[in-house]
């Protein structure tokens, strides 16, 4: 990759700039470079090279000093991060520490970040369900937020496009509410998951349990082999980075692919400060960067700019991009930049035991689990809250040992674990309603070590969320009971928003420039050569894990951008 240093304006000019190298930025880079655009990817964090920079990938459990646990000292230093389950000794190096990148919490918000080449694509749990027409229709039907400017049919081919390349495993379930995609072989269900599936089918109309769709290669097709990625071995150590490229990350997939075109320049340690707006030309001409190591300010120029710094950081960059034409943030003519931020609700879990199917157990390992698409208010409004929740579910039967003894008995028992009973567990994934009062803004008087203003996050749950949480526990308890599960235990958490790690909105798409920031091609209405295709663009949140939708929107917008450039429109 070319090494960019301060050079002439020419040397600092590209066809396209992509801000951020995470899931969405990686896709922008792939599409733009493949179409022949000289593309500069600016990433604030350090470089993480596929395989070489996965230091823990092949470590045995006993090679971790605390066998995975984070120490008290680390937890005390990172109260926010310590609420993320995935933060462990093996993945520590991919998470932002609380004191490294502070932000202001007007109300509690756990902002979990990964600042490095690859962003959080290294860490994600790889659940990849498509949205359906009912999700895009949602705001219009139920009268919240604003209407999406696109429909399922607009994005469907782009879902296929990204699924084929990334490699998504799944079953063709034929459900209207969770459309099928281009799938690699599905994750197998186990005996009790199958039992629960059948029980739902018999006793509850419209509730379906399916194999979850996820970005691990249950098979490596020629498309992934060409990326140097082989079949997933079910090690379930994804968050360390996978030496086999068994799951999709920017590092294993889109970035090396973009690099192969010869059109990519990747510049780590590059904090994008703002987008440069040229008042005369009436368009964005580049970005201001602060080199995170030298703290030098550098400008880079391009014809089009993709902002993919992750939802809240994209808001921050745009708000920080002020000019005479845009005094309160780039493209922010209506003052809605930073508003209508939303997220997902994971506040309830439920677990139980099952005495049935004693003749079966499970053996070996698999990368995925199971999923129940939203069934509440799906085809019509039927409860006193809006929208609904999807559910993650899994059943397991473990070997464990009696630990009551002491001495030789205990040792014997530990070395000869016995098969226990079946345990099942589920968690909700709720849609939240974007509201004007859920906002992010710049904290004017506080800046970070790079001179960037801190983000002030002012976001909270509402009554609709609470009703949905209660409903999820009632409904799941009923579904568990009907399946014969016993000893049902529910947990109603009251965690702060953010820990779902699915933050969205603030730069929403819409038809009308008066009520939205982006058009149906993710272009800023008021500055058409700037594209926002990460979570910031989301008009509503639906229940599905969002990253697949960011990928599809990004690929769609990037291809449109190239067409428009060729026509001379941007």
């Amino acid at each position: 990759m070319a090494n960019t240093n301060l050079g002439s304006v020419n040397q600092r000019s590209y066809d396209a700039i992509v801000i951020g190298s995470g899931i969405s930025g990686g896709w922008a880079a792939k599409e733009l470079t493949e179409k022949g655009l000289k593309t500069l990817v600016l990433e604030r964090g350090r470089d993480v090279k596929h395989i070489v920079d996965y230091p823990t990938a092949n470590k045995m459990p006993y090679e971790f000093e605390h066998r995975g646990d984070m120490s008290n000292a680390a937890r005390e230093a990172n109260p926010i991060l310590s609420r993320a389950n995935a933060w462990q000794e093996d993945s520590d190096h991919f998470f932002v520490k609380d004191n490294e990148h502070p932000y202001v919490q007007k109300k509690p918000f756990d902002w979990i970040r990964g600042y490095q080449v690859g962003g959080r694509s290294l860490l994600w749990a790889r659940q990849t369900q498509r949205w359906s027409q009912y999700d895009f229709d949602g705001p219009a039907r139920d009268g919240f937020a604003i209407d999406w400017p696109i429909r399922y049919k607009d994005i469907a081919p782009w879902y296929s496009h990204v699924e084929k390349f990334a490699g998504i495993s799944g079953n063709r379930d034929g459900l209207e509410e969770l459309p099928d995609g281009e799938f690699l072989p599905p994750n197998p269900l186990n005996a009790v998951e199958d039992h629960f599936r059948k029980s739902l089918q018999e006793k509850f109309e419209g509730r379906h349990l399916i194999a979850s769709r996820f970005a691990n290669l249950t098979k490596s097709t020629p498309t992934q082999l060409a990326q140097g990625r082989s079949q997933c071995l079910s090690r379930k150590l994804c968050r360390r980075g996978c030496p086999f490229g068994g799951y999709f990350s920017s590092n294993s997939s889109t970035l090396p692919w973009a690099e192969k075109t010869g059109n990519l320049t990747l510049r780590p340690h590059s904090v994008v400060h703002s987008v440069i707006y040229d008042e005369e030309k009436g368009r964005a001409t580049g970005v201001r960067v602060i080199d995170s190591q030298s703290k030098e300010a550098i400008e880079y120029y391009a014809k089009i700019i993709f902002v993919n710094a992750s939802a809240l950081n994209t808001n921050l960059i745009l708000m920080n991009s002020v000019s005479k034409r845009f005094p309160i943030g780039l493209g922010n003519d209506n003052g809605l930049l930073g508003k209508f931020v939303a997220f997902h609700n994971y506040n309830t879990t439920i677990r139980a035991e099952f005495d049935g199917l004693p003749e079966f157990a499970t053996f070996g390992s698999r990368p995925g689990s199971t999923y129940i698409p939203r069934f509440r208010n799906m085809f019509r409004q039927e409860t006193d809250f809006l929208r609904g929740y999807a559910t993650g579910f899994s059943a397991r039967r473990n070997l464990s040992s009696n630990r009551s003894g002491i001495g030789v008995d205990l040792k014997e028992s530990l070395l000869n674990p016995k098969l226990g009973g079946w345990h099942v567990g589920a968690h909700m994934m709720g849609e939240t309603i974007p509201k004007e009062s859920n906002t992010v803004s710049l904290e004017a008087n506080k800046t970070d070590s790079w001179g960037m203003p801190l983000l002030n996050i002012d976001i909270e749950y509402d009554d609709n969320d609470l009703k949905m949480e209660i409903d999820s526990l009632e409904q799941l308890s009923e579904m568990f009971t009907a399946a014969g599960f016993t000893n049902i235990k529910t947990t109603h958490k009251h965690q702060a928003p953010g820990i779902d790690i699915h933050e969205m909105g603030g730069v929403r798409m819409g038809k009308d420039p008066k009520t939205s920031l982006l058009n149906k091609w993710n272009q800023l209405h008021a500055c058409k050569n700037v594209f926002v295709t990460d979570g910031a663009c989301m008009t509503s949140t639906s229940t599905q894990n969002p990253s697949l939708t960011y990928m599809a929107l990004t690929a769609r917008a990037a291809n449109h951008a190239v067409e428009e450039m060729r026509k001379g429109n941007v």
């Binding site: 995935a86 186990n190 090690r235 157990a361 499970t362």
Partner: protein, 197 residues
């Protein structure tokens, strides 16, 4: 989001592949990561998080406790695998202050307890008496609650340190970095399931 696996739970494949043990690790390489602290020097004292001495005497006592919990048989026990180092490391680095206080004062109370009920210090008790002593800590209502907490913490960390030691994970219950393919309808009886189908 994903919830973390419980490391204390055995997966079927781990047990089933015992026979395929990779015999590459020398028997007594131990495998516990050595502490940075200089606490195991003969005369040094560990500065404990609370104001309780932890010197060579306490160190030996803790070693005897882990040895009693998981003794040497035809295979090494917790003492041989230096699991006492692991217990201390975890208590100091990962437990709450309340646990730490209970752990260190509980340890000091062990001799008081055995002297009262067994007429001698823990060190002087024979193996059977040591087992009985540890077993009875929870049964005696007048036993010091901190001693009970000490036993509970030490036992759970000893079990973890033993099962997750290099030796056990390579020689006795080999941990497979590459697991077997998934079978969700695996016959329970093949795993010695108590309910035979």
């Amino acid at each position: 989001m994903k919830t973390r696996e419980n490391p204390s739970i055995w997966t079927a494949s781990r047990l089933m592949n015992r026979r395929e043990a990779i015999k590459k690790t020398a028997l007594l390489s131990g495998g516990m990561i050595l502490l940075n602290h200089s606490l195991f020097g003969q005369n040094s004292s560990l500065s404990t998080p609370i104001n309780v001495t932890f010197g060579p005497k306490q160190e030996r006592l803790l070693q005897m406790v882990v040895d009693t919990l998981i003794p040497k048989t035809d295979t090494p026990g917790a003492k041989e695998l230096k699991v006492d180092h692991f217990v201390l490391l975890m208590v100091n680095d990962c437990h709450s202050e309340k646990d730490q206080t209970a752990f260190y004062s509980g340890l000091h109370n062990l001799d008081v307890f055995t002297e009262k009920y067994f007429g001698q210090s823990f060190a002087l008790c024979d193996t059977d008496t040591r087992v009985e002593a540890l077993n009875s800590v929870n049964k005696k209502s007048d036993a010091n609650p901190e001693l009970q907490a000490f036993i509970k913490i030490t036992k759970s960390r000893t079990i973890q340190g033993y099962l997750e030691s290099n030796y056990v994970m390579t020689e006795l219950l080999p941990h497979k970095m590459i697991p077997d393919p998934y079978d969700g309808y695996y016959p329970a009886r093949k795993l010695g399931g108590k309910f035979d189908g």
